[in-house]
Symmetry: none
Subunit: 205 residues, 2 copies
Amino acid sequence: MLNDRAHEILGFIRRFAREHGFPPTIREIGVEFGISSTNGVRFYLKMLEKAGYLKRCGKISRGLVPVTPGGAVSSAPSFGYPLLGTVAAGQPILAEESFDGSLDPRDVFGDPRGMFALRVRGDSMIEAGIFEGDYVVVRQQEAASAGEIIVALVEDDATVKYFHPRRGSIELVAANPKYQPIVVSSGMNFRILGVVRGVMRTVGR
Amino acid sequence: MLNDRAHEILGFIRRFAREHGFPPTIREIGVEFGISSTNGVRFYLKMLEKAGYLKRCGKISRGLVPVTPGGAVSSAPSFGYPLLGTVAAGQPILAEESFDGSLDPRDVFGDPRGMFALRVRGDSMIEAGIFEGDYVVVRQQEAASAGEIIVALVEDDATVKYFHPRRGSIELVAANPKYQPIVVSSGMNFRILGVVRGVMRTVGR
DNA sequence: TAATATAGTGCACGTCCGTGCAGCAAGTCA
DNA sequence: TGACTTGCTGCACGGACGTGCACTATATTA
């Protein structure tokens, strides 16, 4: 559907938008690729638009918005690592062509409002892939559903555990056979601080 | 220095850029704020520029780039979850007081330049806390040190593994006893794509 | 061999959009 | 009371920029 040149042009639009904060004009694209006629460029823009890689806001200057085939703006001059595809099968190519979106934590974890992060201590959740030193991203809320990973305050100790409500009590289950479930009875000081929505970890160094 | 109206206008430019993928024109700002003359708007733009909140690319349509006083493009307001402390001991209080910094992926993983992200398929790294569906953040480089987690291309298959150079060959070790190490001999098609620097995961939903 | 797709050139037209200049009303300061 | 600042209006100018139409050259396909 799309040839190399179309992909290069899409990559240029994305790069330009990321670097400048606004998309290029048709003529600026033309200069970049040595296309002297605006229609030479328009030919590709139509192509990209039909293929769903570009949204055009007709008649408006710089009205070129690169989108992911899904529809999200993919050039937001915001933070993001280029998301190149899937690993362990297939061949990710390290170029703009295989650009698959952006790993923006806002997209991944959601709106930072009402959320906070905590650094994890201890190994009670290793089987859930939450290790010592990891950061958990938490949505602040007072209630949770069964099976969710929550951050809770039990007798003034904050802890990360699976949430399992029982008849008349609550069980907080670790993801590590080393640890017994904590049973919270009605008399105890217990409060849910939030539900874990994400995990971030640095590797090495 | 800046009055309320100037701040509102800056906010509008940022919002507009985020939603549309390109900044507004002077006239579009005017319409939004009921300012019929382009010079009414320009008055504020000059103000914002002098205060360092806006970069203007003169004479160019939509040449408005909101920046932080530091200089970084800020049409996406800098991302960050408040980092409230450590969980599993101590008592994190959900207020500004216990604010311990910000969980900004730029700080955590480093400069996005030269880095990319990949979605993980398969369970070969579960003991390293890398699960199916996680995103790995990768620094692009051709060499790696022993023991690092790398993304490599082996016979056209991309894979995430521990890197262990041996005499005359390379061993790629999974973090899952289910999988045998892959031994790369000199004749094989092998290339390091980068070194894993971080992991991100969403939980639930 | 004719039809069609690809990949453009070249130009005119009209609108979009930033700029410059002139002016004005309300408030404030001296 | 007169100068100055703030926060605009109004307009004309010119260049930036998207669009439409006509035309061309080279492959590819039927």
